[in-house]
Amino acid sequence: MSYEAIVIGSSAGGLKALKIIFDNLNQSFTTPIIIAQHTSSRSESYLATFLNQDSHLTIKEAESGEKILRSHVYIAPPNFHLLVEEDFTMNLTVDEKVNYSRPSIDILFETAALAYKNQLIGIILTGANNDGAFGIKQINSFGGLTIAQSPESAEVPIMPQAAINTGCIDKIITLEEIAELISSICN
């Protein structure tokens, strides 16, 4: 199976977790990654700058209408939902919060599942609510690969646990193992 894109959802503790994944990615990794990280609605966006520092990938905030490219990582801007279109562009909305969150991981995952079908990997990392669980089910029902950070290795286990509880998670592994796995299967 070849995977065309990866979506990641993270919440409390997500910054550190994402950093670990990016630090451990293989230099030849080029599959596009799209991230919904929960932030407070009043926060300015700094995640992209923070992660971009020493990565071989271009890590940026997603813009509406932007095309999804290889070697790029896109991050949902604070206070906007990020949706993937079936022509592999992205759009933003200001719809009401979902699971108390904007961006919502579910919205990213369910639209990405519709666009990429079984060529998608969905990853749920540390967090304190259950956003993403519904999205994981959608990815799974289209035959995509689903991964949860192992709850005991997560700063806050609730979110990966909620994803695991759906019964739709294929792999439960640590951050380092996630980096290793996606590096090898996306090569």
Partner: protein, 282 residues
Amino acid sequence: MSLIEHKINIQNNELEFFLEIIFRVFGYDFRNYNKAHVKRRILHRINNLELQSISQLQHKVLYEEGYFDMILRDLSINVTEMFRDPGFYKSMREEVIPILRTYPYIKIWHAGCATGEEVYSFAILLQEEGLYERAQIYATDFNPVVLEVAKKAIYPVQKIKDYTLNYQESGGKNLFSEYYVARYDSVIFDQSLKKNIVFAEHNLVTDSVFAEVNLIICRNVLIYFNKELQNKVISLFTESLIKGGFLGLGSKENLMFTDVFNQYQVIDSKEKIYKKIVTSLK
């Protein structure tokens, strides 16, 4: 939102057919709204009503009362707040108000005003800058239900804390509490803010130029439209603005890639405030 898995999927041609029917029968044209958004909303609605297919939904929308209103609500996203993006209002105060001040009479159009929070926010700003008395404000939306709410200027009290913070950050000159009275779990905004506002139904996709105005504020509406429709609506705005008039968009909307970009000067690239520098062709 429920965690029940979507058992159905919608084929793109089915969705297009559904939107075509909606347009023909009800006159609302969603055909050029962003697809992922529309599809997700419709899927959730089908799921929520425990239907099996989009054709079942279509049947209900056509033959049963209340269902079209539901779809209109699903697709029109009326989420809004007062002084949303305080920096926008600050920039308006600093960059746009001084120029509007040079006109004896000004017309302002809020397009896609939802439940009115943005309109009253700007009315407060105009009062504080001493421009309210010479302003005629048009506030339009294509959803009649939200316009009724907007006309009342009554909002839930729980939101006031956030709005007060926004107001202060936006450069507000007074105490925010001077503009409303709290009653039970609601706040009612001052009647004097309403005096020069006309609320009216207007559909940006299917209706034509509304008026000739000095300032158009249309925030977080174009974000739902595809490129083609964005261009069409921006052209409508360009026609409606006087030369030297201003256009304020939402923080993730942009004139940069539209057909008319060269007809505008960027006033504030972060807050998406533009000034029209050419004369209308008409």
